[in-house]
Subunit: 246 residues, 2 copies
Protein backbone atom coordinates (compact mmCIF):
# COMPACT_ATOMS: atom_id res chain seq x y z
CA UNK A 1 0.00 0.00 0.00
CA UNK A 2 1.13 3.50 -0.61
CA UNK A 3 1.82 5.56 2.48
CA UNK A 4 -1.02 7.91 3.33
CA UNK A 5 -0.25 10.45 0.64
CA UNK A 6 0.18 13.97 1.99
CA UNK A 7 -1.84 16.50 0.04
CA UNK A 8 0.01 18.81 -2.30
CA UNK A 9 -0.84 21.99 -0.47
CA UNK A 10 0.66 20.39 2.62
CA UNK A 11 3.83 19.43 0.79
CA UNK A 12 4.12 22.92 -0.60
CA UNK A 13 3.51 24.43 2.83
CA UNK A 14 6.19 22.22 4.34
CA UNK A 15 8.62 23.17 1.59
CA UNK A 16 7.97 26.85 2.23
CA UNK A 17 8.38 26.39 5.96
CA UNK A 18 11.71 24.71 5.37
CA UNK A 19 12.81 27.53 3.10
CA UNK A 20 11.82 30.17 5.62
CA UNK A 21 13.53 28.39 8.48
CA UNK A 22 16.61 27.90 6.34
CA UNK A 23 16.71 31.62 5.77
CA UNK A 24 16.09 31.44 2.05
CA UNK A 25 13.36 34.00 2.59
CA UNK A 26 14.34 36.46 5.29
CA UNK A 27 11.93 37.79 7.85
CA UNK A 28 10.35 40.89 6.42
CA UNK A 29 11.03 39.90 2.83
CA UNK A 30 8.35 39.14 0.27
CA UNK A 31 7.70 35.59 -0.79
CA UNK A 32 7.18 34.86 -4.47
CA UNK A 33 3.68 35.65 -5.67
CA UNK A 34 0.94 33.10 -5.84
CA UNK A 35 1.24 32.87 -9.62
CA UNK A 36 4.99 32.55 -9.42
CA UNK A 37 4.81 29.63 -7.00
CA UNK A 38 1.92 28.09 -8.87
CA UNK A 39 4.15 28.13 -11.93
CA UNK A 40 7.31 26.98 -10.22
CA UNK A 41 5.74 24.00 -8.45
CA UNK A 42 3.31 23.10 -11.19
CA UNK A 43 0.23 23.40 -9.01
CA UNK A 44 -2.83 25.57 -9.27
CA UNK A 45 -3.12 28.93 -7.62
CA UNK A 46 -5.79 27.40 -5.41
CA UNK A 47 -3.24 24.98 -4.00
CA UNK A 48 -0.74 27.74 -3.37
CA UNK A 49 -3.38 29.74 -1.54
CA UNK A 50 -4.24 26.73 0.58
CA UNK A 51 -0.59 26.36 1.51
CA UNK A 52 -0.30 30.07 2.26
CA UNK A 53 -3.39 29.87 4.40
CA UNK A 54 -1.68 27.28 6.52
CA UNK A 55 1.43 29.38 6.96
CA UNK A 56 -0.69 32.40 7.79
CA UNK A 57 -2.53 30.40 10.45
CA UNK A 58 0.81 29.47 11.92
CA UNK A 59 1.76 33.12 12.04
CA UNK A 60 4.67 32.67 9.67
CA UNK A 61 3.48 35.03 6.99
CA UNK A 62 1.19 38.00 6.58
CA UNK A 63 -0.55 38.84 3.36
CA UNK A 64 -1.73 42.08 1.90
CA UNK A 65 -3.70 42.74 -1.16
CA UNK A 66 -1.75 44.71 -3.71
CA UNK A 67 1.51 44.10 -1.91
CA UNK A 68 2.21 40.43 -1.54
CA UNK A 69 3.09 37.86 1.05
CA UNK A 70 5.59 38.85 3.67
CA UNK A 71 7.57 36.60 6.01
CA UNK A 72 6.60 37.47 9.55
CA UNK A 73 8.49 34.97 11.66
CA UNK A 74 11.24 32.49 11.05
CA UNK A 75 9.66 29.72 13.00
CA UNK A 76 6.28 28.84 14.36
CA UNK A 77 7.94 26.50 16.76
CA UNK A 78 7.78 28.05 20.15
CA UNK A 79 4.48 29.83 20.07
CA UNK A 80 2.46 29.33 23.18
CA UNK A 81 -1.08 30.53 23.78
CA UNK A 82 -3.24 30.97 26.82
CA UNK A 83 -6.93 31.52 26.37
CA UNK A 84 -9.85 32.77 28.42
CA UNK A 85 -13.36 31.88 27.42
CA UNK A 86 -14.64 34.89 29.31
CA UNK A 87 -13.06 37.86 30.98
CA UNK A 88 -14.57 36.60 34.20
CA UNK A 89 -12.00 33.80 34.00
CA UNK A 90 -9.34 36.37 34.80
CA UNK A 91 -10.75 36.24 38.28
CA UNK A 92 -10.59 32.59 39.00
CA UNK A 93 -12.83 32.31 41.96
CA UNK A 94 -16.20 30.75 41.47
CA UNK A 95 -19.28 32.74 40.65
CA UNK A 96 -20.42 32.41 44.23
CA UNK A 97 -18.92 35.70 45.35
CA UNK A 98 -20.36 39.01 46.34
CA UNK A 99 -18.99 42.50 45.81
CA UNK A 100 -19.35 45.09 48.52
CA UNK A 101 -18.76 48.75 47.75
CA UNK A 102 -16.98 50.38 50.65
CA UNK A 103 -16.61 53.87 49.25
CA UNK A 104 -17.09 55.88 46.10
CA UNK A 105 -15.51 59.22 45.35
CA UNK A 106 -14.24 61.36 42.55
CA UNK A 107 -10.50 61.87 42.56
CA UNK A 108 -8.02 63.95 40.62
CA UNK A 109 -4.94 62.00 39.69
CA UNK A 110 -1.93 62.79 41.82
CA UNK A 111 1.50 62.21 40.36
CA UNK A 112 1.57 58.71 41.80
CA UNK A 113 -1.94 57.85 40.68
CA UNK A 114 -1.33 59.31 37.24
CA UNK A 115 1.50 56.83 36.74
CA UNK A 116 -0.63 53.94 37.82
CA UNK A 117 -3.59 55.03 35.71
CA UNK A 118 -1.42 55.97 32.75
CA UNK A 119 -2.94 59.42 32.43
CA UNK A 120 -2.02 63.05 32.96
CA UNK A 121 -1.84 64.57 36.42
CA UNK A 122 -5.12 66.15 37.45
CA UNK A 123 -7.24 63.84 35.28
CA UNK A 124 -10.57 63.18 36.97
CA UNK A 125 -11.56 59.62 37.82
CA UNK A 126 -14.35 57.96 39.66
CA UNK A 127 -12.94 55.60 42.24
CA UNK A 128 -14.70 52.72 43.96
CA UNK A 129 -13.18 50.96 46.93
CA UNK A 130 -14.60 47.48 47.04
CA UNK A 131 -14.20 44.16 48.69
CA UNK A 132 -15.13 40.69 47.46
CA UNK A 133 -16.49 37.90 49.65
CA UNK A 134 -17.23 34.30 49.06
CA UNK A 135 -20.98 34.05 49.61
CA UNK A 136 -21.77 32.86 53.12
CA UNK A 137 -18.42 33.80 54.60
CA UNK A 138 -17.32 36.92 56.37
CA UNK A 139 -13.71 36.81 55.31
CA UNK A 140 -12.97 38.78 52.14
CA UNK A 141 -11.04 37.25 49.27
CA UNK A 142 -9.74 40.48 47.91
CA UNK A 143 -9.71 44.23 48.14
CA UNK A 144 -10.19 46.11 44.90
CA UNK A 145 -9.98 49.69 43.76
CA UNK A 146 -11.84 50.34 40.55
CA UNK A 147 -11.36 53.42 38.42
CA UNK A 148 -13.71 54.55 35.67
CA UNK A 149 -14.34 57.85 33.93
CA UNK A 150 -16.69 60.22 35.76
CA UNK A 151 -19.06 60.04 32.79
CA UNK A 152 -19.76 56.50 33.85
CA UNK A 153 -21.01 57.56 37.25
CA UNK A 154 -24.23 55.63 36.81
CA UNK A 155 -22.20 52.46 37.12
CA UNK A 156 -22.07 53.06 40.86
CA UNK A 157 -25.77 52.26 41.15
CA UNK A 158 -25.50 48.94 39.42
CA UNK A 159 -22.28 48.04 41.16
CA UNK A 160 -23.88 48.51 44.57
CA UNK A 161 -27.03 46.64 43.71
CA UNK A 162 -25.82 43.64 41.82
CA UNK A 163 -22.59 41.86 42.43
CA UNK A 164 -21.26 41.99 38.92
CA UNK A 165 -18.02 42.94 37.29
CA UNK A 166 -17.28 46.44 36.19
CA UNK A 167 -16.12 45.59 32.72
CA UNK A 168 -19.47 43.92 32.18
CA UNK A 169 -21.27 47.11 33.15
CA UNK A 170 -19.08 49.22 30.93
CA UNK A 171 -19.80 46.90 28.03
CA UNK A 172 -23.51 46.73 28.68
CA UNK A 173 -24.39 50.28 29.58
CA UNK A 174 -21.95 52.23 27.50
CA UNK A 175 -21.79 50.05 24.42
CA UNK A 176 -18.05 49.80 24.71
CA UNK A 177 -16.38 46.57 23.88
CA UNK A 178 -13.35 45.49 25.83
CA UNK A 179 -10.81 44.53 23.24
CA UNK A 180 -7.75 44.09 25.39
CA UNK A 181 -6.82 43.66 29.01
CA UNK A 182 -3.33 44.36 30.23
CA UNK A 183 -2.44 42.76 33.50
CA UNK A 184 0.46 43.44 35.85
CA UNK A 185 1.15 41.21 38.78
CA UNK A 186 3.51 42.00 41.60
CA UNK A 187 4.06 41.40 45.28
CA UNK A 188 3.39 44.08 47.87
CA UNK A 189 3.36 44.50 51.60
CA UNK A 190 -0.28 45.12 52.40
CA UNK A 191 -0.65 48.55 53.96
CA UNK A 192 -2.34 48.71 57.35
CA UNK A 193 -5.62 50.25 56.19
CA UNK A 194 -6.21 47.51 53.64
CA UNK A 195 -4.84 44.81 55.90
CA UNK A 196 -7.53 45.74 58.42
CA UNK A 197 -10.23 45.30 55.80
CA UNK A 198 -8.85 41.97 54.66
CA UNK A 199 -8.29 40.76 58.18
CA UNK A 200 -4.57 40.11 57.85
CA UNK A 201 -1.46 41.39 59.59
CA UNK A 202 -0.29 44.83 58.47
CA UNK A 203 2.56 44.67 55.97
CA UNK A 204 2.06 40.97 55.35
CA UNK A 205 2.59 39.67 51.83
CA UNK A 206 -0.07 40.29 49.21
CA UNK A 207 -0.56 39.84 45.51
CA UNK A 208 -1.19 43.07 43.67
CA UNK A 209 -2.92 42.76 40.31
CA UNK A 210 -3.33 45.81 38.12
CA UNK A 211 -5.66 45.50 35.17
CA UNK A 212 -6.16 47.94 32.35
CA UNK A 213 -9.35 47.51 30.38
CA UNK A 214 -8.92 48.82 26.88
CA UNK A 215 -11.61 49.41 24.28
CA UNK A 216 -11.60 49.94 20.56
CA UNK A 217 -8.91 52.29 19.36
CA UNK A 218 -6.71 51.80 22.42
CA UNK A 219 -9.16 53.75 24.57
CA UNK A 220 -8.57 53.09 28.25
CA UNK A 221 -11.98 52.37 29.77
CA UNK A 222 -11.28 51.25 33.28
CA UNK A 223 -8.49 50.31 35.61
CA UNK A 224 -8.67 48.00 38.59
CA UNK A 225 -6.21 47.33 41.34
CA UNK A 226 -6.66 44.10 43.29
CA UNK A 227 -4.96 43.03 46.47
CA UNK A 228 -5.09 39.36 47.42
CA UNK A 229 -3.71 38.21 50.73
CA UNK A 230 -1.10 35.52 50.87
CA UNK A 231 -2.31 31.90 50.65
CA UNK A 232 -5.91 32.89 50.08
CA UNK A 233 -5.60 33.02 46.34
CA UNK A 234 -3.35 32.05 43.45
CA UNK A 235 -3.51 32.93 39.80
CA UNK A 236 -3.08 30.02 37.45
CA UNK A 237 -2.52 30.13 33.76
CA UNK A 238 -1.93 27.38 31.25
CA UNK A 239 0.19 27.99 28.19
CA UNK A 240 -0.16 25.56 25.33
CA UNK A 241 1.99 25.06 22.27
CA UNK A 242 0.01 26.18 19.29
CA UNK A 243 1.54 24.20 16.48
CA UNK A 244 3.25 20.87 16.52
CA UNK A 245 5.93 20.16 13.98
CA UNK A 246 4.64 17.93 11.21
Amino acid sequence: MSPPATPRYRQLADALIRDIEAGKYAVGALLPTEFELSDRYGVSRHTVREAFRRLADMGLISRRQGIGTRVQAKSAEHRYLASLSTLADLFQYTKRTRLKVLAEHEVKASALLATMLRCKRGQAWLQFDTCRYRIGTAQPISYTQIYVYPEYAAIGEHLAKRSVWVYGLVERYYGERIVEVQQEIGAVAIEPRIAAILGVKPRSAGLQVLRYYIGRGKRLLSVSMNIYPEKRFTISTSWKLEWERS
Copy 2:
Protein backbone atom coordinates in the same frame (compact mmCIF):
# COMPACT_ATOMS: atom_id res chain seq x y z
CA MET B 1 -21.49 55.53 -3.42
CA SER B 2 -22.29 52.07 -2.25
CA PRO B 3 -21.00 51.19 1.19
CA PRO B 4 -17.97 48.91 1.12
CA ALA B 5 -19.80 45.75 0.15
CA THR B 6 -19.26 42.84 2.50
CA PRO B 7 -18.24 39.70 0.67
CA ARG B 8 -20.83 36.99 0.29
CA TYR B 9 -19.00 34.41 2.31
CA ARG B 10 -18.92 36.96 5.12
CA GLN B 11 -22.65 37.59 4.84
CA LEU B 12 -23.32 33.87 4.84
CA ALA B 13 -21.03 33.39 7.84
CA ASP B 14 -22.82 36.15 9.72
CA ALA B 15 -26.19 34.64 8.89
CA LEU B 16 -25.06 31.28 10.18
CA ILE B 17 -23.65 32.84 13.33
CA ARG B 18 -26.97 34.54 13.96
CA ASP B 19 -28.82 31.28 13.43
CA ILE B 20 -26.54 29.43 15.80
CA GLU B 21 -26.80 32.11 18.47
CA ALA B 22 -30.56 32.19 18.03
CA GLY B 23 -30.62 28.48 18.70
CA LYS B 24 -31.88 27.51 15.28
CA TYR B 25 -29.05 25.01 15.17
CA ALA B 26 -28.41 23.55 18.59
CA VAL B 27 -24.97 22.83 19.95
CA GLY B 28 -24.07 19.32 18.91
CA ALA B 29 -26.46 19.29 15.98
CA LEU B 30 -25.42 19.04 12.36
CA LEU B 31 -25.60 22.06 10.12
CA PRO B 32 -26.97 21.64 6.61
CA THR B 33 -24.43 20.24 4.18
CA GLU B 34 -22.30 22.41 1.94
CA PHE B 35 -24.40 21.54 -1.09
CA GLU B 36 -27.62 22.20 0.77
CA LEU B 37 -26.51 25.68 1.81
CA SER B 38 -24.99 26.37 -1.57
CA ASP B 39 -28.41 25.63 -3.00
CA ARG B 40 -30.42 27.47 -0.42
CA TYR B 41 -28.43 30.70 -0.57
CA GLY B 42 -27.68 30.57 -4.25
CA VAL B 43 -23.91 30.66 -3.83
CA SER B 44 -21.20 28.29 -4.90
CA ARG B 45 -19.93 25.54 -2.69
CA HIS B 46 -16.65 27.41 -2.57
CA THR B 47 -18.37 30.34 -0.89
CA VAL B 48 -20.04 28.09 1.63
CA ARG B 49 -16.72 26.50 2.45
CA GLU B 50 -15.17 29.92 2.92
CA ALA B 51 -17.94 30.85 5.34
CA PHE B 52 -17.55 27.54 7.19
CA ARG B 53 -13.84 28.11 7.42
CA ARG B 54 -14.50 31.36 9.23
CA LEU B 55 -16.86 29.72 11.69
CA ALA B 56 -14.38 26.92 12.26
CA ASP B 57 -11.63 29.44 12.98
CA MET B 58 -13.92 31.05 15.51
CA GLY B 59 -14.42 27.69 17.13
CA LEU B 60 -18.14 27.67 16.46
CA ILE B 61 -18.22 24.52 14.36
CA SER B 62 -16.19 21.40 13.79
CA ARG B 63 -16.16 19.51 10.56
CA ARG B 64 -15.56 15.89 9.75
CA GLN B 65 -15.25 14.19 6.45
CA GLY B 66 -18.03 11.75 5.84
CA ILE B 67 -20.08 13.11 8.70
CA GLY B 68 -20.80 16.78 8.29
CA THR B 69 -20.52 20.05 10.10
CA ARG B 70 -21.38 20.10 13.75
CA VAL B 71 -22.14 23.07 15.98
CA GLN B 72 -19.53 23.22 18.69
CA ALA B 73 -20.33 26.40 20.60
CA LYS B 74 -23.18 28.81 20.68
CA SER B 75 -21.07 31.94 20.75
CA ALA B 76 -17.53 32.96 19.97
CA GLU B 77 -18.00 36.23 21.77
CA HIS B 78 -15.71 36.65 24.67
CA ARG B 79 -12.62 34.72 23.81
CA TYR B 80 -9.42 36.37 24.88
CA LEU B 81 -5.95 35.17 24.01
CA ALA B 82 -2.48 35.86 25.34
CA SER B 83 0.49 34.68 23.36
CA LEU B 84 4.17 34.07 23.93
CA SER B 85 6.51 33.98 21.00
CA THR B 86 8.94 31.97 23.08
CA LEU B 87 8.86 30.29 26.43
CA ALA B 88 11.62 32.66 27.44
CA ASP B 89 8.98 35.39 27.37
CA LEU B 90 7.47 33.82 30.46
CA PHE B 91 10.45 35.33 32.21
CA GLN B 92 10.19 38.88 31.19
CA TYR B 93 13.58 40.16 32.09
CA THR B 94 16.00 40.91 29.34
CA LYS B 95 18.46 38.40 28.06
CA ARG B 96 21.20 40.15 29.98
CA THR B 97 20.93 37.91 32.99
CA ARG B 98 23.11 35.25 34.50
CA LEU B 99 22.13 32.11 36.35
CA LYS B 100 24.18 30.99 39.33
CA VAL B 101 23.78 27.48 40.68
CA LEU B 102 23.96 27.58 44.47
CA ALA B 103 23.39 23.92 45.19
CA GLU B 104 22.45 20.66 43.56
CA HIS B 105 21.15 17.58 45.32
CA GLU B 106 18.91 14.61 44.90
CA VAL B 107 15.81 14.68 47.04
CA LYS B 108 12.98 12.32 47.84
CA ALA B 109 9.63 14.03 47.85
CA SER B 110 8.26 14.71 51.32
CA ALA B 111 4.53 15.04 51.74
CA LEU B 112 4.75 18.78 51.23
CA LEU B 113 7.06 18.56 48.24
CA ALA B 114 4.95 15.80 46.70
CA THR B 115 1.97 18.12 46.66
CA MET B 116 3.95 20.87 45.04
CA LEU B 117 5.53 18.57 42.49
CA ARG B 118 2.29 16.68 41.89
CA CYS B 119 3.87 13.31 42.41
CA LYS B 120 3.83 10.47 44.92
CA ARG B 121 5.68 10.71 48.23
CA GLY B 122 9.17 9.34 47.99
CA GLN B 123 9.56 10.11 44.30
CA ALA B 124 13.17 11.00 43.54
CA TRP B 125 13.97 14.38 42.03
CA LEU B 126 17.07 16.30 41.19
CA GLN B 127 16.88 19.74 42.72
CA PHE B 128 18.87 22.82 41.77
CA ASP B 129 18.88 25.92 43.92
CA THR B 130 19.71 28.85 41.73
CA CYS B 131 19.76 32.56 41.63
CA ARG B 132 19.45 34.96 38.73
CA TYR B 133 21.37 38.21 38.39
CA ARG B 134 21.21 41.03 35.97
CA ILE B 135 24.64 41.01 34.34
CA GLY B 136 26.96 43.50 35.97
CA THR B 137 25.02 43.77 39.21
CA ALA B 138 25.41 41.97 42.47
CA GLN B 139 21.79 42.07 43.48
CA PRO B 140 19.78 39.04 42.41
CA ILE B 141 16.46 39.37 40.61
CA SER B 142 15.10 36.06 41.72
CA TYR B 143 15.68 32.86 43.59
CA THR B 144 14.67 29.68 41.79
CA GLN B 145 14.38 26.04 42.67
CA ILE B 146 14.38 23.76 39.67
CA TYR B 147 13.31 20.14 39.75
CA VAL B 148 14.03 17.59 37.07
CA TYR B 149 14.10 13.82 36.95
CA PRO B 150 17.33 12.24 38.15
CA GLU B 151 17.81 10.74 34.69
CA TYR B 152 18.47 14.24 33.50
CA ALA B 153 21.43 14.66 35.82
CA ALA B 154 23.67 15.75 32.98
CA ILE B 155 21.71 18.95 32.84
CA GLY B 156 23.58 20.13 35.89
CA GLU B 157 26.77 20.47 33.86
CA HIS B 158 25.20 22.67 31.24
CA LEU B 159 23.26 24.67 33.76
CA ALA B 160 26.41 25.57 35.64
CA LYS B 161 28.43 26.39 32.56
CA ARG B 162 26.01 28.37 30.45
CA SER B 163 23.32 30.64 31.74
CA VAL B 164 20.42 29.11 29.93
CA TRP B 165 16.95 27.98 30.81
CA VAL B 166 16.24 24.49 31.96
CA TYR B 167 13.36 23.83 29.64
CA GLY B 168 15.70 24.61 26.76
CA LEU B 169 18.14 21.99 28.00
CA VAL B 170 15.43 19.42 28.45
CA GLU B 171 14.25 20.05 24.93
CA ARG B 172 17.71 19.99 23.43
CA TYR B 173 19.38 17.14 25.25
CA TYR B 174 16.50 14.80 25.83
CA GLY B 175 14.49 15.37 22.69
CA GLU B 176 11.42 16.20 24.70
CA ARG B 177 9.16 18.91 23.49
CA ILE B 178 7.46 21.17 25.98
CA VAL B 179 3.85 21.20 24.94
CA GLU B 180 2.32 23.00 27.87
CA VAL B 181 3.33 25.13 30.80
CA GLN B 182 1.09 25.55 33.80
CA GLN B 183 1.80 28.54 35.93
CA GLU B 184 0.64 29.40 39.42
CA ILE B 185 1.27 32.78 40.92
CA GLY B 186 0.82 33.65 44.55
CA ALA B 187 2.16 35.90 47.26
CA VAL B 188 4.42 34.60 50.03
CA ALA B 189 6.41 35.89 52.91
CA ILE B 190 9.99 35.22 51.91
CA GLU B 191 11.56 32.85 54.39
CA PRO B 192 14.76 33.99 56.08
CA ARG B 193 17.13 31.67 54.27
CA ILE B 194 15.97 32.88 50.87
CA ALA B 195 15.62 36.46 52.02
CA ALA B 196 19.30 36.42 52.89
CA ILE B 197 20.19 35.26 49.41
CA LEU B 198 18.00 37.88 47.80
CA GLY B 199 19.17 40.61 50.12
CA VAL B 200 15.76 41.53 51.49
CA LYS B 201 14.20 41.60 54.92
CA PRO B 202 13.08 38.20 56.24
CA ARG B 203 9.36 37.59 55.79
CA SER B 204 8.98 40.53 53.43
CA ALA B 205 6.56 40.17 50.53
CA GLY B 206 7.53 38.10 47.54
CA LEU B 207 5.99 36.78 44.38
CA GLN B 208 6.00 33.01 44.13
CA VAL B 209 5.71 31.55 40.68
CA LEU B 210 5.34 27.82 40.22
CA ARG B 211 5.75 26.45 36.73
CA TYR B 212 5.04 22.95 35.52
CA TYR B 213 6.67 22.01 32.24
CA ILE B 214 4.68 19.32 30.51
CA GLY B 215 5.68 17.26 27.50
CA ARG B 216 3.84 15.10 25.05
CA GLY B 217 1.24 12.90 26.61
CA LYS B 218 0.89 15.00 29.77
CA ARG B 219 4.33 13.91 30.94
CA LEU B 220 5.64 16.24 33.62
CA LEU B 221 9.20 17.09 32.66
CA SER B 222 10.28 19.76 35.06
CA VAL B 223 9.00 22.03 37.77
CA SER B 224 10.38 25.37 38.80
CA MET B 225 9.63 27.54 41.79
CA ASN B 226 10.58 31.20 41.53
CA ILE B 227 10.64 33.81 44.24
CA TYR B 228 10.75 37.45 43.23
CA PRO B 229 11.13 40.13 45.86
CA GLU B 230 8.62 42.93 46.09
CA LYS B 231 9.05 45.84 43.66
CA ARG B 232 11.94 44.23 41.88
CA PHE B 233 9.78 42.47 39.34
CA THR B 234 6.26 42.36 37.94
CA ILE B 235 4.64 39.92 35.58
CA SER B 236 2.69 41.50 32.78
CA THR B 237 0.33 39.80 30.40
CA SER B 238 -1.83 41.18 27.66
CA TRP B 239 -5.11 39.54 26.79
CA LYS B 240 -6.62 40.36 23.43
CA LEU B 241 -10.08 39.68 22.09
CA GLU B 242 -9.74 37.09 19.38
CA TRP B 243 -12.75 37.89 17.25
CA GLU B 244 -14.57 41.12 16.78
CA ARG B 245 -18.25 41.03 16.08
CA SER B 246 -19.01 42.24 12.57
